[in-house]
Symmetry: C2
Subunit: 333 residues, 2 copies
């Protein structure tokens, strides 16, 4: 296992500490229990938004803490849900009196631990609502999940709900936006290589030199099938066709097209994939109104990509364009 | 070779085309000869800035084209200098009447081809100045280079010179800023794994499972030494100590600390490395005033990192903070 780490047990603590030092203008880091919070939290009168989950998907979620997006992020151990304690602490830290929204990816541990934290917060008179993200069309049930997994759509929910909270929407309205985004977004991914969880020391699965896993999960969970290495355009088609057929996208829509790298994939390949995805959308009479290309929800050093398509309405476009100032997404400020 | 590509010969063309589609609000892409240019170029009365070099280092350079940074970027084949033709075409496309600055990384092919293009542009009455970036302290001469190589400092030169041009500085003043940044910046990198150039199909060098190359170049050129796998803090020390000793940084300075990934390194490791680098700087009484952490100058899917330290003055801080709107760096707009 070749990694830039010291002790596998200290990877998350040391990385989060470095994150806090690098972005002290945007976030504050608490270490016991561990969470990352907007430097100016709680923002009085604003709905607070908390997300979190296992580490190893960076910049998700800490990279999205800041003005116009998340108020706090709770990192678990690598690929392991955070416990209720830090989720509760983060929820209390961002409560500005207007309630708190939990954005939760649909993995059994995350859902349970966020629910427990929400119950504990309610007992302290904080109003909490939760939205569970489940945009991955690849498989219905999976390792760690009942129902569909939450993947790339999570980044878009965090941006759009974050912008709604920033402009002063109520908790119900922010939750409605989050649910609307989740209902209109679909994703699917593939892997060229596995990744190694530091405390495991070995890949959780293996792929032959000429094999690709279609429908991979962000923890390396099995997807739909293994195929032989194929040209990029074929690979893109194998992701975007199921994505478009699922909602379904019928033609005539405006969308946000998000081509995401799994962590170890160079940008040169992601943009090459974007080109084909754009061609497919054009062929189906779907208009790309906004784009995102890069490594935004990852699986450590895994090579691979996912494609996410969000059907946009006017309000979503306005919320996407609204100012944001986080470590990983920033414009207008 | 496992990559998301179609034909190795078409990787750059298809990727640049995708880049143009994804960022049509910021750039325009020309395909014959190939270059990427600000959507509003030429900007009348503003100094134009052109950079370029072999592809495979994305987001460098195309990712830095836009308001407040580069006016054009010229991508060569992977790890291969662009020829004078597209450099000349880009130079003409960004000439707003105030002259054009070439920012050139110190590799023999880049230096020669930019010189030839500058001569041709002069013959068409465009005033061109060039600044050659050579911030890599690892080795003096190397494969492809006489003198030191240009690496991470290039990103910082492009931002600061770009901001100076955007505020209306003259060609001489913009060139002076670029030279001042180059004189005050030092870098060094390491690799955990090699990368594969698509048209070669095989790694240009190999590393054993427990070996690390210290002082690696961004094309996989040999560095100073090969060592056994070591804890992250030791690896950081082996990069930052030579960087700090070279300028030298004597203590009392304000700096920008830039921890850069080589393309295949996850952010969780880069932030962990940042933590140690910050500790070392504090120990030497050097103040971190600005930070940059991420994959900004890469070597395809290589795993590894580089550390760059820039000694800041008041003007550099003002230029760093100035608004920028590119695909890869964006704030204030």
């Amino acid at each position: 296992m070749k990694k830039i780490i010291n002790d596998p047990k200290r990877v998350v603590d040391e990385s989060v500490a470095g994150f806090g030092l690098a972005h002290a203008d945007i976030v504050r880091v608490e270490m016991d229990p561990i969470y990352v919070v907007r430097v100016d939290a709680p923002v009085s009168g604003k709905v607070g938004i908390v997300s979190g989950g296992g580490s190893g998907h960076e910049p998700l979620h800490a990279g999205y803490v800041g003005f116009g997006m998340l108020d706090a992020a709770v990192p678990g151990a690598v690929f392991t849900s955070p416990t209720p304690d830090p989720i509760l602490a983060a929820t209390k830290a961002v409560d500005g009196g207007a309630g708190v929204l939990h954005i939760v990816k649909n993995y059994t541990g995350d859902v349970l631990n966020f629910e427990t934290a929400a119950d504990l917060a309610s007992a302290e008179d904080i109003t909490v609502r939760a939205v569970v993200i489940n945009d991955d069309v690849a498989v219905k049930d999976s390792l760690y999940t009942a129902g569909r997994r939450g993947v790339g759509g999570t980044v878009l929910v965090e941006k759009l709900a974050g912008a709604a909270a920033q402009r002063g929407d109520s908790l119900d309205d922010v939750a409605e936006i989050a649910e609307r985004v989740n209902a209109n977004v679909r994703s699917m991914g593939l892997a060229l290589t596995p990744c190694i969880v530091p405390h495991a020391g070995e890949p959780s699965f293996t792929l032959a030199e000429d094999e690709i896993e279609i429908g991979i999960g962000i923890h390396g969970e099995p997807g739909r099938e293994r195929i032989k290495l194929a040209p990029a355009d074929d690979l893109v088609d194998r992701l975007i066709d199921p994505v478009l057929d699922d909602l379904p996208f019928a033609g005539g829509e405006r969308v946000l097209l998000f081509v995401n790298g799994m962590g170890g994939t160079p940008l040169i390949e992601l943009y090459l994939a974007y080109r084909r995805a754009a061609e497919v959308l054009q062929g189906r009479n779907v208009t790309i109104s906004r784009s995102l290309v890069g490594n935004y929800i990852t699986s450590l050093e895994m090579q691979g990509m996912s494609i996410t398509v969000l059907r946009l309405d006017d309000e979503m476009i306005e919320l996407w364009d609204a100012p944001v100032q986080t470590a990983a997404l920033r414009w207008g400020r």
